[in-house]
């Protein structure tokens, strides 16, 4: 099996170079919080303290202004590289840190904008420079400052963050750790607690919505790690902690109900939604219209649409399901049952029988 995919020497060399590069680079760990006041800075500094006590060479590169008493207590036990003033604004002193060259540097608030005239426009780019120089970085970031999450956050809070970190930088992190706390805690400790709530719902409700996003975002990252791990170990896709729902779309009848249910279930279980249909070139126009309408609905419901090509429709659906780790197949009954089906079994019977290891949900006509 391994022989099938033996890489050519060029590829091998590139991979070795990439691995060496990876080894020279510092390791990035990110503490992700859903709002201010959940305790990210504390957790970052506390980890710095523990590592220092275990003999690692740790410095603080940047920490938020106005630290809480708990954070101040930790800072007293750590070496702090003072911030530098550029145009009257404090920035992390990357040059000083690089000269000092510690094993680990703690960097608070990755989404900080540096003033003009700084080495890099963004603090996360400073962190990147440290990593490239072989310094490991432990950093913090708030959900609302992740570029790709900004719109969703704005929808909830009515506020738009101006300083951001691209999610692509965060996904280079070797470790991401979510800092969770009940919204009340965040409200008590947060500096923006006094702010009146914009957007919809109370501030507590907004925080709760943000909290859910942060947890799910981390779950996504962990899911990718799991897949990568399984691939490395040569293990098959397993029935993991993640629901994947497949809608079997046909030209026989309107599929609005099954699509709506699929979407709702995928949302409720925070899973993925697929919709598969079979290529049938000789479809009469009225059936073609039904199929097109169904596919449009599936697309609207944000399902990943797949066209399957096969002799046998049941085989095709099962094969797709197995290849994509599908956990549930949603299928609508055929309006008419052929006499022949009573003898050899209807496609539905055969689907249920073949779908070993996969749930099948049959919807009314």
């Amino acid at each position: 099996m391994a022989g099938d995919r033996r890489p050519d020497p060029e590829q091998l060399l590139r991979r070795v170079q990439a691995e060496e590069e990876q080894q020279r680079r510092g390791r990035l760990k990110v503490f992700l919080g859903y709002a201010g006041g959940v305790g990210k800075s504390f957790r970052m500094l506390d980890e710095g303290r523990r590592r220092r006590e275990r003999g690692e060479d740790v410095v603080v590169g940047a920490v938020q202004a106005n630290p809480t008493p708990e954070v101040q207590a930790l800072l007293r036990r750590l070496e702090v590289i003072p911030l530098r003033k550029v145009a009257g604004v404090s920035v992390m002193d990357v040059e000083a840190i690089l000269r000092r060259h510690p094993q680990v540097c703690l960097v608070d608030s990755l989404a900080y904008d540096n003033p003009p005239g700084s080495r890099n426009p963004k603090r996360w780019q400073d962190a990147e420079a440290l990593l490239a120089a072989g310094v490991s970085v432990i950093a913090t970031v708030n959900l609302q400052y992740i570029e790709e999450q900004r719109e969703e956050v704005e929808r909830i809070t009515g506020k738009r963050a101006t300083q951001t970190v691209p999610q692509s930088f965060l996904s280079t992190a070797d470790e991401i750790e979510v800092v969770d706390a009940p919204p009340e805690t965040a409200l008590q400790r947060s500096s923006d607690a006094a702010e009146s709530a914009a957007g919809s719902g109370s501030r507590a409700q907004q925080l709760s919505a943000l909290r859910e996003i942060a947890l799910l975002l981390t779950a996504e990252v962990v899911d990718h790690q799991l897949e990568a791990y399984l691939r490395r170990q040569g293990l098959e896709q397993m029935w993991g902690p993640h629901e994947r729902i497949l809608l079997w779309i046909t030209p026989h009848s309107q599929a609005a109900a099954i699509i709506a249910s699929g979407r709702r279930n995928a949302d409720r279980f925070h899973g993925e939604l697929f919709a598969a249909y079979l290529s049938q070139p000789d479809l009469p126009p009225e059936k073609k219209a039904v199929l097109d309408e169904n596919l449009a609905l599936a697309r609207e419901a944000d399902a990943q649409i797949e066209l399957l090509d096969a002799e046998d429709q049941v085989d095709a659906v099962i094969r797709f399901a197995r290849a994509h780790g599908i956990t549930q197949i949603f299928v609508k009954r055929h309006p008419q049952e052929h006499l022949w089906d009573r003898v050899v079994g209807s496609p539905l019977d055969r689907l249920i029988q073949a779908a070993e290891g996969i749930d099948v949900r049959v919807f009314p006509e």
């Binding site: 799910l216 981390t218 397993m238 902690p241 009954r333 290891g357």
Partner: protein, 356 residues
């Protein structure tokens, strides 16, 4: 949990430790220092004295908040109650708020999934409704690599136990999968509390300070799930799955067993006991159960579903041998034929495929 105990104490709250499990972990033991511990109760069992939470002593002490470690723990035989969560229930009923801890693999509804990716069947489980009634859930996150490092440093178990743990639950792939499961479960818990909060704002506060707010508002519950109980051992997994879907949607949940004999007690003893065990299990997960009598199980089941406005029937896949089209249909095929107006979910046994 202990950190929160210290924070509460610093705010002047009267906190005690009802039970905490040091596992010989130095960091943890240090953290318990400075907090009042209610002495444990000694329970003799087979010549050894085991220690459990002294619930009566905590009640007598009447703290403002009680910290209780490892909610899913099973008490040693001879204790007043079988499970620690039942002790916690007693404290809550007495008006003592509890801060407690739980590992995700102990949640009943996740039992099958956890077995599938870890190969371990967790026996100490906790019905999901116990967690549902919590006012607040906090996710304690740690990347698996950090946990493995702690384990190797001996921060979690003594060395001889650590080696064993590394081969079982602490395999990296298992930890990564458990972590993802925890994150998704935590997101779900946040989600349902958010819905409850919104519902409370619409309908007005549903309950006072004394009881936990109901997580589901009845108005939102449109789905009704019916689980078909049989003596098949896979029924336990079917019940868990039905319960979990009902919790997520949310939906009402029922379970029925159909017996052909005119009296349930006339069934062969072994089968009857298995069915009773399954029904009990369902009731423990707060599923309403019924015994139905009928010669034609499929018809009886579908008629009950129609009468009770069931929207989804949960069935097990029959064993391979039961598949036949020419020589009569199995129960599943019959239900599929009869219940053309109801959703039918055929639940698969989910087993990890062995690596090739």
């Amino acid at each position: 949990m202990l950190d929160e105990g210290h924070a509460l104490k610093a705010q002047g709250v009267d906190v005690v430790i009802g039970y905490f499990e040091p596992h010989g972990r130095k960091d943890t033991i240090v953290k318990a220092e400075g907090l009042e511990i209610v002495p444990r109760r000694k329970v003799p069992y087979r010549g050894t004295a085991f220690e459990e939470m002294d619930t009566a002593a905590v009640l007598a002490r009447q703290p403002q908040i009680c910290l209780v470690d490892e909610l899913a723990h099973t008490n040693v035989p001879g204790s007043e109650r079988t499970k620690r969560w039942e002790d916690v229930q007693v404290l809550l009923d007495a008006g003592i708020p509890v801060v407690t801890t739980l590992n995700v693999q102990h949640l009943e509804s996740l039992n099958d999934q956890v077995r599938d990716f870890s190969g371990i069947c967790v026996r100490e489980t906790l019905p999901d409704w116990v967690v549902k009634q919590a006012d607040e859930i906090v996710m304690v996150d740690l990347p698996p690599q950090a946990l493995l490092n702690r384990l190797k440093r001996g921060a979690i178990y003594a060395p001889e136990k650590a080696g064993q743990a590394l081969q079982n639950f602490f395999k990296e792939s298992t930890l990564v999968a458990l972590r993802e499961l925890t994150l998704r479960q935590a997101a779900h818990e946040v989600d349902v509390r958010q819905d409850a909060q919104k519902a409370a704002e619409v309908h007005g506060p549903a309950s006072g300070k004394d009881g936990p707010a109901p997580v589901l508002s009845p108005a939102e519950t449109t789905d009704r799930i019916l689980i078909h109980i049989t003596p098949n051992p896979a029924t336990a997994a079917l019940i868990r799955r039905g319960r979990r879907v009902a919790d997520f949607l949310p939906a009402d949940c029922f379970a029925v067993f159909v017996h052909g004999e005119s009296d349930f007690r006339d069934m062969p003893a072994a089968q009857r006991e298995t069915v009773e065990r399954h029904l009990n299990f369902a009731r423990n997960l707060r599923i309403e159960t019924r015994l139905l009598q009928g010669k034609d199980a499929a018809r009886t089941l579908v008629e009950f579903a129609r009468l009770n406005g069931i929207t989804q029937i949960f069935l097990l896949r029959p064993q391979r041998a039961a598949w036949s089209t020419l020589f009569g249909r199995n129960l599943l095929q019959q239900v599929v034929r009869l219940a053309r107006d109801i959703q039918i979910t055929i639940v698969a046994e989910r087993r990890r495929e062995k690596p090739v």
